[in-house]
Every structure is written in C-alpha cells, then in structure tokens.
Symmetry: C2
Subunit: 240 residues, 2 copies
C-alpha cells in the first residue's frame, strides 16, 4: 500500500536515502531502461485498447491482455495501477491526439471552413485507430468518478472546437446557416460512427472512407442545384 505507486516518468527528487547514488542528473538522456519501460507500458496500453475495441472493456480480463503480451497478470501491475487506469489512459491518449490535431489544424490557418475540414479529417483518422476508437466506443459511465468528469471536460472541449468553427463559418458565409451546436453534433456523430463499422480488411481503405464521409457531410443528402431547400417534390409517381 505504499503510497508511492509510480509517479510516471517524473525525475523524482532524491530524499535522504538516495544519497549513495550521487543524485543522478535528471537532465541526462532517459536511460535505455527508462525508454524500454515506457515502451512496454505503451505496449500494454495499445494491446489493451485493441482488445477493448474488439471485445468490450468488461469482457477483456487482465489475464487476456497479459496473455496476448506473453506475460502474466501481475506484470501488468508493474506498469499500470489498475484496470481502470488502463482504460483511462487509452481514452486520454485518444483525446490528446484529437486535441493536438485540432490545434495543428488551427495553426495551418485558412478560413473557418478550411479549418473545419482539416479538423474533420483529423478526427476521422483518429477514430479508426486503437486509442481513438476507445474514445468513442467507451461510454463515460464505464470510467469511475474522479476521471469521468475530467473526461467529459476534454470531450466537450473537442465538441466546442467544432462548434466554434461552425459558428465562424456561418458568419463567414461558407457554412449554411444552422445551429452550430447541432451541426457540430451531427458532424462528430457521423465521424465517430466510422469507428464502429469500419474494418481495415474491408474493400475500402480508411482514406477512401474518410474522404467520402467528409464529402457526404459537407455536401449533404439533397442534390446540389439551383433549387431551393425543398427540391424535387414530385408526387404521384411510385417507382417499382
């Protein structure tokens, strides 16, 4: 129960006992071992994410994860605190990737529509990868309270980014007048859903799928033409 568990990759200050080791400079390169350790922790997370996505969080036991890494369960506890932490870390990584991608899209500049397009692209790409998939398959309720709130915060941050871009695009005139909140949800929903049905083994490449989804969302269901909203309202004829 020693309250020290892991403390991440922090340099950790030397208290009295460590004196013998002559205060190894924390500025040196992260020793080969530390890198290894980090790599292993990552392997745990990635494997876990894959299995969670395939079989669901609760249906994946730590023994399963360990087995698929060719180690035993207690080994996992050497790298993570507990099962919930694994899930949280996975979702967090997905979230970080998304947030970073959004930031990059912004840096890239362009008008609101360009930026929105870039964000959509980024989001769709992430959502078909292990961590991103966790992000959208795992309901918030699976993760226990301290983290749940934090998670929701980050998710709504993503949502907000979309919403802001939509709003700006509307002002700009490049995006159709709409309630940005709803539009953002529609976009996020359609893209998130990709992570539910897309299979790399299928006949489409991820890039193809993404491209087409973006086109569908941007262009809408209705035929584009000079016609106003309620186009093509031909009644009477019933096709067989």
């Amino acid at each position: 129960m020693t309250a020290e568990h892991k403390s991440g990759a922090q340099p950790g200050k030397a208290r009295g006992a460590q004196r013998a080791r002559a205060v190894v400079s924390p500025w040196g390169a992260p020793s080969a071992r530390e890198q290894q350790r980090e790599a292993k922790r990552n392997a745990v997370l990635t494997t876990a994410a894959r299995m969670f996505n395939e079989r669901g969080f609760h249906a994946t036991s730590l023994d399963d994860i360990a087995a698929s890494l060719n180690v035993t369960k207690p080994t996992l506890y050497y790298y993570v605190k507990n099962k919930d932490e694994i899930l949280l870390a996975c979702v967090n990584k997905g979230l970080r990737m998304t947030l970073d991608g959004i930031e990059a899209s912004r840096q890239a500049g362009g008008n609101a529509l360009d930026q929105l397009r870039a964000c959509m692209q980024v989001y769709a790409e992430i959502v078909v990868q292990p961590f991103g998939m966790c992000l959208i398959r795992v309901g918030d309720e699976e993760v226990p309270e301290p983290s749940r709130t934090e998670l929701r915060r980050m998710k709504s941050e993503i949502d907000l980014a979309f919403r802001r871009l939509v709003a700006r695009g509307v002002q700009e005139g490049s995006i159709a007048p709409c309630d940005p909140k709803i539009m953002a949800f529609v976009i996020a929903g359609a893209l998130s859903w990709i992570g539910r049905w897309y299979q790399p083994e299928g006949s489409y490449s991820a890039q193809q799928v993404i491209e087409q989804c973006l086109a569908a969302l941007l262009g809408g269901v209705l035929t584009r033409a000079s016609g106003p909203k309620r186009a093509a309202r031909k009644s009477g004829r019933t096709p067989s």
Copy 2:
C-alpha cells in the same frame, strides 16, 4: 450442473398430475393474469434498459434492477431467463420498433427522398427512447454468440433499408450522387449519436433536436446555392 435450470414457463415435470386440470383451452382471451405477467416482464425490460443506458450494462447488477422495481433479484428470474436475455430483449425491441417504423414509412408511399426522410425521422425518435438507446449504446460484442449473429443481421437490415432508399434517391435525382453505402452510414451515424448526447432535461425538445439534425444532414454543411468551392455543378437537367 443439473441440466434443467428453468425451462421458462414450461409446465415442467408432473405429466400425470396435469390430467386433473382438464386442459384449459388456449384459444380464449389471454387471461388477466397473463396480461399482468406480460406487463411485469415489460416493466423489467424497460427499467433495465433505462439503467443500462445510464450506467452501462455491466455496471448494472440484477440487484440494482430488482431494487428499483421494489422486488428481489430472484423475482426477476421468474420473468426472464438471465441477464443476457434482458439485454437481448431490449435491443431486440429497439430493433423491432425500427424495422416496423421503416416498414410504415414505406407503406406511406412517396418518392425515395420522402421515404428516406420518414425513416430518418423514425429512427431518430427511437434512438432517444430506452430500447432504441440500448440498440446504439450496446456494442454487439456484449451479447454472447448465438444471439450476436442474429443481432447483426437485424442491424444490417436497417442499414440496408437506408442504403436502398439512398440508391433509389440518387437514381431519382433527388439525392446527391454518392456511394449509398457510405451515405447510409453517415446518416445512421449522425442520428445514432443523438442517443448519446441528447438529454430530455436540456433546453431542446426531442422534436426540435431531431428536426434540426435532419435539416443539417439533408442540407449539408456547405452553404447552398452559389456556394464557392464545389457546390452546384449540375450538368444537364435539373430536378423538377
């Protein structure tokens, strides 16, 4: 491991003993008791669905469900075979409702676009109700194998209905040229997502949300008419 477990509502052993009861005619109206029983089973399912949606399937114990119905756990087993059956029944109901709704939309007639609109409406409505929400929140992997395949079958039936309508709409000219498969997924995704974020307590009514989502999907993100980029580029004929 006695292989008899429950055998549902079957008469069970006592073959000779039944003679005394003079074979009650099964053609009569479903006695008040049977109705009661059915009503109670339904209550179990509805309560379960609500709780599954709120807290997740695995985080909801049978004791929880029982408690919220003011009975004890074994009572539940009087109405359902086991926990998995509850989940399956919930999802199934959601699926049935959807399929029925789609059929009704077809009966209602109209061109492909009209029918698609009706289907979208129906689907969105279902997805914010308990059983429909189960349908989209529960991953297939949660339900064990015999049923899983059946479930997937029904889900893809829904998907197919959307896909067919889109394809017809494209031929009709009322729907933008696209890959119907992708378009159907985009539609289903955006609508399903509603079930993830919509809260009845919020500032929008369900109908408002649905209406706006349909508009967003149908119209698309980009400004209509005289839009920049790749907007209106209809070559030959325009739809009447």
